[in-house]
């Protein structure tokens, strides 16, 4: 059993699913699970963390922590982890987790394994597996020298988090020193569409060059909205201006690992596969039976997406209705 510290991620007072996934997994693996929660007025979230298995929530609240910054976060996390002699420190490999964790590792003088898709706890030690070369190989990674062991974990890799109503966490309020910060987050401009981000969604519906224009992506949005899914795109679709770059899946876009990935009119170039091959179930819809995407697909439909996708929207609606 290890003393595991997890850095919670919240935006606008809501915990990220990826955080709950880490807390739930660590706790079901029998670890003494601590959570470090940073923000302003976020004490209310401790109860939810408790339900997912946190034993202790270390609460860092300050106006300077209202908006995330790597500098303030890494400073607080390093102090807590040191003070409690943590064995293992985990964060999600999100734009936030991946940003501050290296600084914590550097300050502690220990190793960090990023973007892990598998964690194995062995007493107080940790072994991890992570994709390298854009998923073309998998590496078993071990830590060298003394701990704590640090890792960031790809969202959706550890299984769905399970709450246990009735469980609660002890809450510890931290005393903070946040003077002399060299960075300041001025604002967060929402670019949001109401749909989840491709890296966070459990289902991603993606389209390629063959969608022909931005307008036709509405077809995919319709399917996505029935499923609460994100809409992704190939680089060809992004380069053609059908979707913004933030939706691009692949080696020079986002790496996603949803439970379901639906590729519509995407050929399956090696750089695209790099971004989605760890998805649990892959569906390919393509008019070319020889398209490489079918080699990684669990379910394949050879057909015209302009006919199949609207039919699919209707069928998903039926399932969702009962």
């Amino acid at each position: 059993m290890a003393k595991v510290f997890i850095i919670a991620e919240q935006r606008d007072g809501r915990l990220k699913k990826a955080t709950l996934e880490l807390v739930s997994y660590s706790s079901t693996q029998g670890n003494e699970t601590h959570v470090i929660l940073l923000g302003d007025n976020v004490a209310g979230l401790a109860g939810e963390l408790g339900q997912y298995g946190a034993k202790v929530v270390h609460l860092a609240q300050a106006p300077e922590l209202k908006l995330y910054s790597a500098e303030a976060t890494s400073r607080v996390v390093t102090e807590v982890v040191r003070a409690h002699a943590a064995d293992i420190v985990l964060a999600s490999h999100t734009p936030t987790g991946r940003d501050f964790m290296p600084r914590v590792a550097g300050r502690l003088g220990v190793g960090l394994a990023s973007d892990c898709t598998q964690l194995t706890f062995q007493g107080t030690d940790l072994q991890v597996r992570r994709p390298v070369y854009a998923g073309k190989a998998l590496a078993e990674v071990e830590f060298v020298g003394p701990g704590p062991r640090l890792a960031t974990v790809r969202a959706n890799s550890l299984g769905a988090p399970k709450p246990e109503p009735g469980r609660t966490a002890e809450v510890v309020n931290l005393t903070l020193n946040l003077s002399g910060l060299k960075t300041r987050v001025l604002e967060v401009a929402q670019g949001n569409t109401g749909r989840p981000d491709v890296t966070e969604a459990s289902i991603v519906v993606s389209g390629g060059r063959s969608l022909k224009n931005a307008e036709n992506f509405k077809m995919l949005e319709e399917v996505a909205d029935v499923l609460g899914a994100a809409v992704g795109a190939s680089r060809a679709a992004v380069d053609a201006g059908y979707r913004p770059h933030r939706d691009q899946v692949g080696q020079t876009g986002k790496v996603v690992s949803p439970t379901l990935y639906v590729a519509c009119g995407i050929s399956g170039a090696i750089q695209h596969l790099a971004g989605m091959r760890t998805s649990k179930v892959i569906v390919a819809i393509n008019s070319d039976p020889e398209a490489p995407i079918f080699q990684v697909a669990d379910y394949g439909i050879v057909g015209d997406l302009f006919q199949v996708v609207p039919a699919l929207a209707q069928e998903f609606k039926k399932v969702k209705e009962h």
Binding site: L67, A70, E71, T94, P95, D99, P102, R103, A105, G106, R107, V110, G111, L112, S114, D115, P131, V132, Y133, A134, K136, A137, L138, A139, E140, V141, V144, G145, K182, T183, R184, V185, L186, V188, A189, D197, I203, P244, H245, R246, Q251, T252, L260, Q271, R277, A284, Q295, D298, Y299, G300, I301, V302, G303, A311, L312, E315, F316, K318, V319, K320
Partner: protein
Amino acid sequence: MNITVCIKQVPDTETRIKLNADSTWIDTTGIKWIVSSYDEFAIEEALRLRDKNPGSTVTVLSAGPLRVVDAIRNALAMGADNGIHIELPESADNNMAAKALAGALKKEAKVDVVFTGKEAIDDGAAQTSQLIAEYLDFPHVTVVLGAEYGPESIKCRREVEGGAIEVVEAQYPVLIAAQKGLNEPRYASLPNIMKAKKKEVKVLKMADVGVSESDQKIRIKSLQLPPPKQAGKKIAGDAATQAQELVRLLHEEAKVV
């Protein structure tokens, strides 16, 4: 300004990855090496900042085996002024690389800005940039889509999830990790390619930058290729039948909707 760029040389994205005999590293024979994609945005941004600030220089650094000198020459051909190669073993981890690069930067005249790519496309770790900043005690901003360079500080637009943009102000000296979209990298011109061949690239050894074996903090124990995927099910029929059958399978068999 003293502007620096840290770059990594990586296998081309088309590379078919093969493993070495004992599956502890990739088989590097026949690999075409390129400058990691995001680093090209870092180089371009450095060149643009230099050109707006007469008297500035751009120094490009790369840590790794001898082959990485080619990556440095690519950056020189794009227009960088100086190159520094720090000799590191192939298997160096992010920490060792960051320590080596920070060590080399500390030997330079006061650095104002360090540019990097937001991650390297081989290990995809996204840690070396922040570690360099940590070892230099600089603030950092990663995944930067746009930057305004003021006299005292830099104002960056940083991409986070859901397309949200964080606007971050950081004081000099600072490290900026570039995201695609920051700029449009230029191609090397023929005269610059010729000039780059003749430029001297400074070489530093591990000891010169204060790095030793003990700076390796993680190690790849073994590598494996992803297990081949079993042939999937092809669903026949007209579009309506295919859609109906697919949804049934996703619901009843795969249980994902």
